[in-house]
Amino acid sequence: MKTFGGPVLFLDRSDINTDEIIPAKYLTEITKQDLKPYILEDLKLPGFDPKGEKTKAARVIVSRANFGCGSSREHAPWVFEVNGITAVIAESFARIFRQNMFNCGMAAIELPKEQLDLLFSHAGNADAAISIDIEAQTLTASGGGKQKVFTFDISPFDKALVLAGGWVDYADSKY
């Protein structure tokens, strides 16, 4: 099973859309690896550099409401995956993006706003990190010498998909 966790990339805005995550002009790439350099290329946020060290080091993204809205392109989770980011934590997700994440065996985790605010309070710490235990449904946020544990909800189906490594094999053996 994949492990989830590591350095965090904080994207402090709601409604980050799939065109910002991976612009349509790169949808002509045939392999996932080819998408790698274009992660979050069109996202404009103060202090954010899509090509910066923080983006490179990130293993988890923490963002706000309605993350992943817009296009159905699974290239959005893929561009994260090939850059080593296998979990996104947000207040809410667009449906297709959320399902795409789980279908790929990645995690899209929803936390209430107050808890996200606590996570964002770590944004200034260079060593901010999060580790996620899908089985136990807990995530541990650390940074600046502090540590805090949160619990989260995940539907049993989504959990099964993450643990099975995705939907294709699951469905082919079952239906």
Binding site: D15, N17, D19, E20, P23, A24, K25, L27, T28, E29, I30, D42, K44, A65, N66, C69, G70, S71, S72, R73, E74, P77, S92, F93, A94, R95, I96, F97, Q99, N100, N103, C104, S155, P156, F157, A160, G166, W167, V168, D169, A171, D172, K174, Y175
Partner: protein, 427 residues
């Protein structure tokens, strides 16, 4: 207790409920295009699962970039084409017969009331106009759809929108849906079906209903849905006349998919449409909506008329009526992309293409083209486009470009003036 259309469709297509709240449905129509399908095909091949569950339920089209513009898009087209031939997929539409998926497939009569429809494309919500449950999915869901003819959903709750009153002159389905998105926000309907009801919808053509449902996803909605009625029957009649003795018989069969009067909704939202004026978006999110009056005078570089939202014959007629005998403002580029070959041909026979060309428009072949910034009218940094498409995200029609979403009528008036303009003075 009664059921909504979505609940009826879920109940009749249920294959499995592996966990509480997750429903695996049998899918009636799996639609494919050349941007999201080739990568699904490649993955299926890699897994040794290059199979299709039933080729007669699969529809495929090359539409996003067509004819191919470079080697990469040619390769994508080829992968889809070879796959369609390999699996004897009869309903495959290639150059010469191809058009924008969400305009082409309904035009061919592929979508009926009560159907389940998926596609690797977010605007699949369009087909709910026929009283179907129709949802955009990612590549993995598409792969499983192709392989097994099933897809898993959380059963969505339904928001019912009662659209009361009447549409005023110069106000169209596009204005209605932009207004609704402006009211509820870009995630106002996440995980919800948007059911459009009321006299305004009853009076709409299927084209207008498709425009309405097309943008459900821009509010986060899973599917738009309209109630099947005689308008639906009339539209589908040429495709179903062998199945039903009379139109009334078809209507009776379709009516069982209508939401029951005592169905329970997540929310019911009443909107009086009578006071609505034409609207336009102003930012990088489709819920940033103002009246055309508030934005009048905003200069634009290009007008784009087309897409799965507003590239149908009805849209071309409305725009042509305003453009007839007029010219594009100096320095403004006009691009018309009829959404399907049939629309193109009908528009030609009606003399609409002449009107656009005389006004100075470039008429492209049916394709998604500039709607997603891939070909046929991509914007330069700093340019502004008045567009009948459905997304104004930053970079959508070209890096650094600004997109104002509007109706075909408003785009035509804007074309004439070279700045955002109220269509009502031309009607």
């Amino acid at each position: 207790m009664g059921k909504t259309t979505a609940e009826k469709i879920f109940a009749s297509h249920l294959v499995d409920e592996p966990f509480a709240g997750t429903k695996v449905l049998r899918i009636d129509v799996v639609m494919c295009h050349e941007i999201t399908t080739p990568i699904a095909i490649a993955d299926l091949m890699e897994r040794g699962k290059d199979r299709v569950f039933d080729g007669s339920h699969i529809k495929a089209v090359i539409d996003h970039v067509t004819p191919s513009k470079d080697s990469k898009t040619a390769t994508q087209a080829k992968i889809l084409r070879d796959w369609a031939h390999r699996h004897a997929i009869k309903d495959f539409f290639d150059v010469g017969a191809n058009g924008v998926c969400h305009a082409l497939f309904p035009e061919k009569g592929f979508i009926h009331p009560g159907y389940t429809v998926i596609m690797g494309d977010s605007h699949t919500c369009t087909h709910g106009a026929f009283g179907a449950f129709s949802a955009g999915v990612g590549t993995t869901d598409l792969e499983v759809g192709i392989l097994k003819g099933v897809c898993a959903f959380r059963e969505p709750k339904t928001i019912r929108f009662n659209l009361n009153g009447t549409l005023q002159k110069g106000v169209y389905a596009k204005d209605v849906i932009l207004h609704i998105i402006g009211q509820i926000g870009v995630n106002g309907a996440t995980d919800r079906v948007m059911e459009f009801r009321g006299p305004v919808v009853d009076a709409m053509t299927m084209e207008s209903r498709m425009t309405l449902c097309n943008m459900a996803i821009e509010a986060g909605g899973t599917s738009g849905i309209c109630m099947p009625d005689m308008t639906t029957v009339d539209f589908l009649w040429e495709f179903i006349r062998d199945e039903y003795a009379t139109k009334e018989a078809a209507l009776a069969a379709f009516s069982r998919w209508r939401s029951d009067d005592d169905a329970e909704y997540d929310k019911v939202i009443d909107i009086d449409i009578s006071a609505l004026a034409p609207v336009v978006t102003f930012g990088y999110k489709p819920d940033q909506v103002k009246t055309v009056g508030e934005l009048a005078g905003t200069p634009i570089d290009q007008v784009y008329l087309g897409s799965c939202t507003n590239g149908r014959l009805e849209d071309l007629r409305i725009a042509a009526r305003i453009l007839s005998g007029k010219k594009l403002a100096p320095g403004v580029r006009g691009i018309l992309s009829p959404a399907t070959p049939k629309i193109y041909k009908d528009a030609m026979n009606e003399g609409l293409i002449d009107i656009f060309m005389d006004a100075g428009f470039c008429v492209t072949n049916p394709t998604c083209g500039a709607c997603l910034g891939m070909s046929n009218g991509v914007l330069a940094d700093g340019e502004t486009c008045a567009s009948t498409t459905n997304r104004n995200f930053m970079g959508r029609m070209g890096k650094g470009g600004m997109v104002h979403l509007m109706s075909p009528a408003t785009s035509a008036a804007t074309a004439i003036e070279g700045k955002i303009a109220d269509p009502r003075k031309y009607l």
